[in-house]
Symmetry: C2
Subunit: 335 residues, 2 copies
């Protein structure tokens, strides 16, 4: 069985990451990853009549151009895997309607990029497909509207809050050889340390991230030092500091090789408190910065951990705490 | 590659269906499958303070007793796969929190049971696990509240409407041999024939079901006559008649071997117009009637098609039509 330890899966032969694309909104295009993103919108409505429709157009562009980046036509994609934060994952569903590809809808909140890479890797290494497309993303305005307040209210944001990234990313995984291969995955458990503040998502998700990372290190008998980069999704500044502390309590010391996409997404001048969040956060950074640095040989052995907060407005209104989940994949640069 | 034709996947060795459980509400317990369900609640609040919490308790019971039905402990389950209709699939997330199992969240609306069986089959036949649990379900009152009107309003139901099934079902798939094996799967595309009436879900989903079934017949070079039973999820009376007609236009004649769980769920006296719907519809029928009849050798070669309507209240309010999806698995009774 291609499983080691408790929750870690090994991909013996496939998949390779052969294509990628990242598209972001104007604010993200002024942030720290500006030079890496494939495309930056000038207008976050993307010419659409609603933010929800803009969000799905981001998804469509990401998939189409990721296919283009590796010269694949639509009929060469065996399965499309995707999910998003919208109720009933409408962004992904309507994208799949447009693309007319066999589609598996996923939901792992902001961990969905990692979840889609895991399921995609199992499909490819399991011998069921030659190419799959993994897509996710988010839009600041559709997320605010659904999860928090109408934008028009101008509600003051608390200091622990994060800013949902407007953007989408798509990875094409394949049995065709390339310089980046996914070698391991750890499927997360749902972890809940009783955080109830929906404006402190980093704090709510950090424990799940801790559990997935420490299980992975145990399962593989490795330590943080064995990796050039350990990249978490959207814990933000506070959440990533919490994770760093929690890892240290467990005996795992991280150094400059640990970073969080949310923490790094925006500059300090952009006044977004704890940084970026949303499915689009890790999806756009993975499919730009990480892939580009790996192709250049600057990064060789990378852990990517998608982190998701699994509440809904209803669960919060009914007094439930915020459960988190974290899914992990390892990417290796191979010659 | 374990794929034939356009969208159909072959499972060469695994998985076997080794365990199952079905639990339903009082109304379903007075319907046509009453004698087959493992458990019928007397009170659809299931002792909980909200319908949402009742729904997740149904999920928990289904998973725990499905594991019990095949003598597995929780630590023998490698992955839990699940999804539901609630925004951000909270029923599945909170169940996964309780069970502390590695968890992949899915969303395919009412096709989720079939989707979970497909992903689970790929994980097992791909060599990544020994046992996985697939769970989904729905609750009439949580679904009405979220998708339609407050129950207290007593809104009149139109004649094309269906009744969301209160119930959950869980299947345990395994590499351990049993008398039922999943042999094929077809992953559906999102199909939209421009139905906009959220009270005619059967009509909205029938075209997706048509496409998946006819693609499957083409991919496998089989016809409806090759199967004892072709069972769709929740097209209801009207939707299943639409499907029958559409299949006939394509040259596929179905006879008494075609049935729909929604159409059959309730008796005519129960006044639910077109019948049952919801993730729990096929989940409970598959994990009771179908599994029991297959174990008795009364059914040998069964197509199960989960059908899902992929809209949200927001997509409908913004004028979008209702896209559908249908995922298919083939179950074979083996000696």
């Amino acid at each position: 069985m291609k499983k080691i330890g408790k929750q870690t899966f090994i991909f013996e032969k496939y998949p390779y990451l052969i294509g990628s694309y990242s598209i972001v909104g104007p604010k993200e295009g002024k942030g720290n990853f500006a030079q890496y993103f494939d495309e930056v919108l000038k207008d976050d409505t993307y010419g659409q009549k609603s933010y929800e429709k803009a969000e799905r157009k981001l998804f469509l562009t990401a998939v189409e151009r990721a296919m283009g980046s590796c010269g694949l036509d639509r009929d060469q994609i065996d399965v499309l895997l995707g999910g998003d934060l919208m109720n009933q994952i409408i962004s992904s569903n309507f994208t799949a309607r447009q693309l007319q590809l066999p589609f598996l809808g996923l939901f792992g909140a902001c961990s969905t990029m990692a979840e889609s890479l895991i399921v995609g890797s199992m499909i490819l290494d399991g011998g069921f497909a030659n190419n799959v497309a993994c897509v996710t993303g988010s839009h600041f305005s559709s997320a605010e509207k659904q999860f928090r307040y109408p934008l028009e209210l101008g509600t003051q944001r608390p200091p622990t809050s994060q800013w949902t990234v407007t953007g989408a990313g798509c990875s094409i995984l394949s049995t065709t050889k390339s310089s980046i291969r996914i070698t391991h995955a750890t499927i997360g458990k749902v972890v809940d340390w009783d955080v109830t503040d929906a404006n402190n998502m980093g704090g709510a998700m950090a424990p799940a991230c801790l559990e997935t990372l420490s299980t992975f290190f145990q399962d593989t008998n490795t330590t943080p030092d064995d990796y050039d980069l350990i990249l978490t999704g959207d814990l933000g500044k506070l959440g990533s500091e919490v994770l760093r502390d929690l890892l240290e309590y467990r005996g795992y010391k991280t150094s400059t090789n640990y970073a969080d996409c949310g923490q790094m997404m925006f500059t300090n001048d952009q006044k977004v408190f704890q940084g970026g969040s949303g499915c689009g956060c890790i999806a756009t950074v993975l499919n730009s910065y990480v892939v580009q640095r790996m192709r250049l040989g600057k990064l060789k052995n990378v852990i990517v951990v998608g982190t998701g907060a699994l509440m809904s407005t209803v669960s919060s209104q009914q007094g439930d705490s915020i459960p988190g989940i974290a899914h992990l994949v390892v990417l290796k640069a191979e010659k």
